[in-house]
Amino acid sequence: MTQPGGNAPLLAVRDLKTYFVTGRGGGTARAVDGVSFELYPGETLGIVGESGCGKTVTSLSILRLIPEPPGHIRPGSYIEFDGRNLLTLAPRDLRAIRGNRIAMVFQEPMTSLNPVFTVGDQIAEAAVVHQGLSRGAARARAIDMLRLVGIPDPETRVDDYPHQLSGGMRQRVVIAMALVCRPQILIADEPTTALDVTIQAQILELLERLQAELGMAVMLITHDLGVVAGTADRVVVMYAGQVVETASTAELFARPRHPYTEGLLASIPRLDRPADRLYSIPGNVPAATHWPAGCRFHPRCPHAWDKCRREEPPLLDAGTPGHTARCWLVVEPQRRRPAP
């Protein structure tokens, strides 16, 4: 675990704006609209939000995997890695980083595996491309990786095709693929969402163990605050294309400062606290083509007043170091309405 502030960030995202032109005169979807955060060496950073908040587009933008058109990353956006801006890197230089020093695991393992190649070939591919491994060495490396991610009988499994594996095994293979070049950063986008709860527990435990063994930084993108609570050191909460709150995990769960974070926490059905009725945030996530004026959460916020409808709050210092929240309540706490 690494505390922010002590050393230099490994990756710094500055004012990232990724927009999409939508068809049929729908206008421009500002999917990611000015996002900034840092990832420090060795830490696990949770990026949390509901569908449409921009968390996946953020992660795809870091590796420049956004299809252009319809998407485009706005000038002025900046993603610093190793002293360079990933967004202006030549394709050749970018390829040397992608899959090698920064790797990614996606939600649905079946769609990130090629059905006509053996898992061994797919795991070794990145090592062959980036490190020029021979055929024999590549196969040996693939077997090592399968063993590392806990697949029994790796010498046989290396020749299996994806359809011969269960969902949990496939996700292990995808993780092995991502880690084959020993990346400094692993971006995991909802790596357990498509899995059953007992398999989810296996994969989370595997990621935890691998991070400790390999010392990489992990960016864990998820909609599940329960997953974040058990794994992340720090959390970035996103809503409507923006970061609305950042804090250490302990601080965020103990003292959430943004009403959206509070609402999310309160609406989770909990095993340890059964309730007759769940808290629910009223309304729906607005469309990315029409973000509300002022604070983007104000139409759903129980505390909103006229200032919130007019002026967009910046990320404000929320007291403890490293804790920020995009909410006017931070500077005008007397406006908070008591819970009904």
Binding site: E50, V228, F253, D272
Partner: protein, 331 residues
Amino acid sequence: MNATAPLVDVRDLVKHYPSERAWLGLGKPKRVVRAVDGVSFTIAAGQTLGLVGESGSGKSTVARTLLRLTEPTGGAALFEGRDVFALPPGELRALRRRMQIVFQDPYSSLNPRMTVRQTLREPLAIHRLAAGADAERRVAALLDEVGLDAALADSYPHELSGGQRQRVGIARALSVEPTFIVCDEPVSALDVSVQAQVLNLLTDLQRRHRLTYLFIAHDLAVVRHTAEQVAVMYLGKIVERAPATAVYQEPRHPYTRSLLSAVPIPDPHAPRRRIVLSGDVPSPANPPPGCPFHPRCPHPKKNEHCRTEVPALREITPGHLAACHFAAEPM
């Protein structure tokens, strides 16, 4: 316990699927997939049974056979005292008015070419419940009941959010005034904040109309908030069945225990004693001999007996059933 007869009484439900056949589909079936293998439960009127399990456990097959969306292989399902599986087609159709289903994915269960109004009027027409202005009034009342704006009546499914679509799915189920609704993972595809809205709506509707629910979920935390009784399925069988509080406070089956421990708790300070099961769920076409859970079972007393003898689902304490040889002993 309620002294009156239960509304739903399922007895030894079996659903086997013949597996792929050799010789271009002409030969003998190779193996039988035992999707549901002798499941029994009852649900009292106005109550909710939570049916929990992982993918492949057979929970959705139970729901579908119960409504005769697929034909059962064996067993009986009494609804208001009559066996659903023995009804002739005419009576089955009449019964369908009383039993409805809400599906997991509201997008694929709504017809993309029908507006909300058409979707809600269709069952009214099929069951000859209302027509013309009367049907319009019913549609307006249904939309109001599920918390949808009347202006959405002329929208198509693709114009609605996931939560709104699921409300339409619920309104469609309610339109024929059923007494029993199967909720097949109704909130699994929804975001957390919307999930809470839909769960609260289902609770309100149940109270208002005294509905009986079979609530199917893979998430024990969601069921915690909805069900009075909980049944846990594994490989086509119920391995534990009890009042909800008993299942959560004193789970007797090691599978239930590990399921509970695997649920992520949104509290970084919560004591975490995750029991991580090794391996995957075996195929229901080739279940292990003996206790179906034994290859993954973390129970310290697991022995040869577990590998050979199928443990019966038996009563451990009054109303609390578990299918484990060691269920009666403290952990």
